[in-house]
Symmetry: C2
């Protein structure tokens, strides 16, 4: 499908008429260009992105040249790619990346934001047991900079490749009076599908179940209002390499050996500036979770999942529980990433507040039946995740306790 042009831009590549004769004569006539929308810049940008998007398209995407809608076949009967759903439930999520965009704009590092954007929606979607199918992005900028837009869009496409979904649509808006100078915003939208009887249901969680924690890659995309406040408050320099930001093979939250090389971008923490560490892309768990769910499709050994976003581990894991169980989490069972210790120290932030705002090193939780806990952890590790056994489910009233 065609990508829509910045707001209000005539779709034609012809230049708007200038100084056309008019009734009042003396007055110069107004055109689009006067209104601050630069068509040429946008056209150059759009030429470079079509091929980027196409790389995310599998055989289920239907070509729709010139159309402003993306088309995706749900059932697909061709050999090799056969997919059929008996009682398909569409699962849809939307999210932005919060004020991480503002930090990125300040540091002029844009190549991870699209991965963040895909991660935030897709990680919410897989929690339901769904398989991601399609993604669309909305990018609004104060002023079109085709290099920045190209980088953003390529990173969205990279996120879609990692998540295994097709980028079938998007919108770019240039809105000079709305955004502050140099600022931008992004919203993402993901749709997946799950067989009705395989959709996650909190009633499945039972005492005895084991809680597995999957390592995060860093701050992910929550808590950036506080991150920015710490940077400002402690007068930290974004382009400086701070020694205490780097830890022993931990800062990217996963073991080097286990990570499939082509899956997610590598972020060696050593030698990284503060900005680079803070802008490490959010880990996308879709591929690992979908592969694991597929392996245990019949036995339904996974009883619940949680994507750890704003509110930290407790406030997100609680949503996977029913009111007859508690999750008892051992906070010492995984290593806290150096970036969190760094932020806590420089911001002088209380431990409780840290745990309420940040993921602290665990980005995703999987609640599994105890007899399969080791097998599921092994499978997830082989998929490239760093997996910790962080707690268990006990009788209770739907609470999460950290000790």
């Amino acid at each position: 499908m065609a990508r829509k042009a910045p707001t209000s831009r005539p779709a034609s590549s012809e230049k708007p008429a200038r100084d056309a004769p008019s009734a009042s004569g003396a007055q110069r006539s107004l055109t689009y260009a006067d209104a601050g929308v630069d068509l040429d810049t946008y056209d150059e940008f759009i030429d470079t992105v079509d091929s980027v998007l196409k790389r995310t398209h599998g055989p289920r995407v239907i070509s729709n040249p010139g159309g402003f809608a993306g088309l995706f076949r749900l059932d697909y009967n061709e050999r090799l790619f056969k997919r059929n759903y008996k009682d398909p439930v569409l699962v849809a999520c939307t999210d932005g990346v919060g004020t991480k965009v503002s930090l990125a704009a300040k540091a002029r590092i844009f190549d991870g934001l699209g991965i963040d954007l895909v991660a935030m929606s897709v990680n919410d979607l897989i929690v339901q047991g769904a398989e991601p199918l399609i993604f669309l992005d909305y990018i609004a900028v104060e002023k079109v900079d085709k290099r920045v837009l190209g980088t953003l869009l390529k990173s969205v496409a990279e996120g879609c490749r990692i998540a295994g979904c097709a980028l079938i649509g998007g919108e770019t808006a240039e809105m000079p009076g709305v955004y502050r100078s140099g600022e931008l915003d992004m919203a993402g939208f993901a749709v997946g599908v799950v067989e009705l009887k395989r959709a996650m249901n909190s009633k499945r969680v039972q005492p005895g179940d084991v809680v597995l924690g999957l390592a995060s890659s860093g701050v992910h995309s929550n808590g950036y209002s506080l991150v920015r406040k710490v940077v400002e408050h402690a007068k930290l320099e974004l382009d400086r390499v701070y020694p205490d930001l780097t830890g022993p093979d931990l800062a990217d939250g996963r073991s080097k050996k286990a990570q499939p090389p082509s899956n997610q971008p590598s972020n060696p923490a050593r030698e990284q500036t503060l900005a680079q560490v803070l802008l490490t892309p959010t880990r996308i768990y879709a591929d690992s979770i979908v592969r694991t769910m597929r392996k245990y499709r019949v036995k339904q050994v996974v009883s619940g999942m949680a994507h750890i976003t704003g509110g930290g581990l407790a406030d997100n894991l609680v949503r996977a529980l029913n009111d007859k169980v508690d999750a008892r989490i051992d906070a010492s069972s995984w290593p806290v990433l150096p970036v969190f210790k760094f932020l806590q120290k420089h911001g002088n932030i209380a431990e409780d507040e840290m745990r309420r705002v940040f993921n602290m090193g665990i980005g995703y939780c999987v609640i599994v039946k105890p007899t399969f806990a080791e097998a599921v952890a092994d499978k997830l590790t082989r998929c490239g995740e760093k997996v910790y056994t962080i707690g268990k489910i006990v009788k209770g009233t739907g609470k999460v306790t950290l000790s």
Copy 2:
């Protein structure tokens, strides 16, 4: 599903700890509240919106309390609501409402923006022959004002009701450093479904076909950079009633008699201020088009459609054509709405420029087989549309000519 809180907000309703003991002691510890995110205000807002969203939910929406994803059953076998797709194609669109948000923020009129948001995506979606199913919104604000957010969200829900789709998700982000003071932005995402063999295909358009034009309700949601420039340039007052803005029963682009009372909000042009006229919500054609398509499901008498957005009639209609036909449009076949004459006069804008930027009174086009043109026009009129026969398809090379 649960609506996500403003960016980075802890999901817990407990207040973040303040002045907690810390290693450095003397330094006051940083909390979320310091970072400018007001949780109480958001909580009050969220309490009021749940019931608004529920009103858009039919029996195919699956309840997902606490979840951050919306669930919608595609196939649905219960009596009364039976829906089954043989080869379903998902159709997805995203769009914003451009700098119309900025005009709304200036005039403090927010109750149409949500309808605009739904219209922009859903009108693109029905062009493919699809039936809208679900909608999600992303609303980002400089600062949470719960009255404004409530109004915006209610208007999104109203748009979904008009379009016949379920509002199953959304995100609200508070981003103080990104947006200018008092500004906001919105993005919408719509998903629909079409049977593969009923999806629109430009190859169906043949010489002899008739082009029907459906009246717009006003400027819709394109061209607002230019609109705002005209207002500024001609020193127009947004809260003033200008006599030449009102026309004989035309300014809302539809006949009063034909419009079903509950379908779309009425906007009598007389006595309306400039801001009210400029902020008239975009017409949503979904209900009329879906009903008409359903009536002619077997015969496939509709050969193409176009939603008239940025680029005006020519640049949008051209995308419905194949390269063996032209569309010959008679520009005098429908009345230009007074608001366009008003903008042209005060902005001293050339006629060509006007037609390239604005819809000029036609918001949607339907290309029909000649023997069914009258019957389709009648059906659309009974659905509440004001319909004009505006041109015909001739042999050609894929161009639109206006005369």
